[in-house]
Symmetry: C2
């Protein structure tokens, strides 16, 4: 007897979170500010940035965009990051990824002061994640995913959680957050042989590989919770890694794309920014 998976509504949960943040800002008379470093002209990045700024503006978070052409020197960018680090008005700093090749992602991340690292990617924050201790900030996407998973009331302890895609923004930090909840964690990626055999063991399946249609019926265990953090543009349409029509027949819960993980990422980023602002007080 198959029944359809219940959708996990990320848009609704994000709206709720943003409304709460707005109340905190108003109540405490906060003036949070998020500065964004943007290098080059990646059109998806431009779109994400606009979206973050619009949501920020709506709830009373000021943003500043520092744009650099791809031809800028690393020194120019570092000096802007240093200025943001020093500026007491700035609560959070993010470097919009990806950056053009000549800029080294890790070095840019290292340059952001850990106390303003609202993307949670600085080695000090990542290090606390791997140690199993509390970082100053959890990276927004895995934090959003954990929030969505909690919504489903899935039991973490002893559950098998498979993560497809071991990138810096989703898979790596998420693996540590799921381990902290005592899940058994399978770290899968493009070199994984027999992917379906691995993912079919998972009570919780999270994918952030960036490959449309990677996860279909045969990759999903009956009754699994499926979280799709993939972002792919297919014929001008935004799709995830999961074949939704197939997946909803096997999963118990599933996130749509769009309207699943994406909105939660923005909410968690802005939540980190407000937290950074409150810590100053």
């Amino acid at each position: 007897m198959m029944s359809k998976a219940r959708p996990i509504d990320g848009s609704q949960q994000s709206d709720r979170c943003l409304k709460e943040l707005q109340q905190v800002i108003t109540h405490h008379n906060l003036t949070p500010r998020l500065d964004i470093i943007y290098i080059g002209s990646n059109s998806s990045s431009k779109c994400y940035i606009d979206h973050k700024r619009k949501k920020a503006d709506k709830i009373g978070i000021q943003t500043a965009l520092h744009s650099f052409p791809a031809e800028a020197t690393p020194e120019e960018v570092y000096s802007q990051i240093a200025a943001c680090n020093a500026d007491e008005e700035v609560d959070g700093i993010i470097v919009q990824l990806p950056v053009p090749e000549k800029f080294e992602t890790q070095k840019l991340i290292n340059a952001v002061k850990p106390e303003k690292d609202v993307d949670g990617l600085h080695p000090v924050n990542f290090g606390h994640l791997l140690s199993g201790s509390e970082p100053l900030f959890y990276p927004p996407t895995p934090k959003g995913i954990m929030d969505l998973l909690e919504e489903t009331e899935v039991e973490f302890q002893g559950a098998v959680a498979a993560i497809v895609g071991m990138g810096r923004l989703v898979g790596k930090p998420l693996s540590q957050m799921l381990l902290a909840e005592e899940a058994t964690v399978l770290c899968l990626h493009e070199e994984t042989v027999e992917l379906a055999e691995m993912t079919r063991q998972a009570d919780i399946l999270v994918t952030g590989a960036g490959v449309a249609g990677l996860i279909g019926s045969k990759e999903i265990k009956e009754g699994a919770v499926v979280i799709d953090a993939g972002i792919n543009r297919l014929d001008c349409k935004l799709v995830g890694d999961v074949n939704y029509e197939e997946a909803e027949k096997k999963a118990s819960w599933i996130t749509p794309v769009p309207g699943g993980v994406g909105p939660m990422t923005v909410a968690c980023l802005l939540s980190n920014t407000v937290e950074a602002c409150q810590r100053k007080l």
Copy 2:
């Protein structure tokens, strides 16, 4: 047709490594020094420390032991760590774990300067591990395990590597080092349900759970490489997590206990100390 697994001789490899270190020290006229912070009176710890000091002394690394009774105040210990951080003669600092409960392990680790953190446990070093970038020091035990695995010439890319035990000293850092080599990594621990079903998928099986006899015949895939980083005292005898007699009938390679991972840990710790000393020049 079953044949016996080949033993991976950690003692021999460690001796080779220590001899090389001694040559480097002599050749460059180095005066490396390792300072050890020891709190309380754990008898295994005392034994490990004696062993490290003996090996260090033998190859020309000076050591200093800073012992504190369990009744010492955290302030006393922190002030000793600060003194070691500041002392230019000190190249490496380790806090011998475990520490008595009132001392917070993570805070002690955080107090060691990352440049002298030859145990590779400081959040900055751990953070680089999780980022997939190079830490200043790799933690000695997982570094030793990777060295032993390389000795077997097992292919990492696409291999399934299962790690049993997700502690700070072995499992967590090792999971990142195996991922960096593009293995599929299964993170298993005491909450893992159906452990044997998981471990039986592993081409590379590493255990550091601290449970004697945890891994026997039914937990091992035919032909797997088995690394035993468990340390258990059974009737005054040192044993690992693996039932060696059962395991050697199924594995292709296997580390004995003692004489496997243990000696490599010491060699890698001293190698880190010499590296720290060379960086000063």
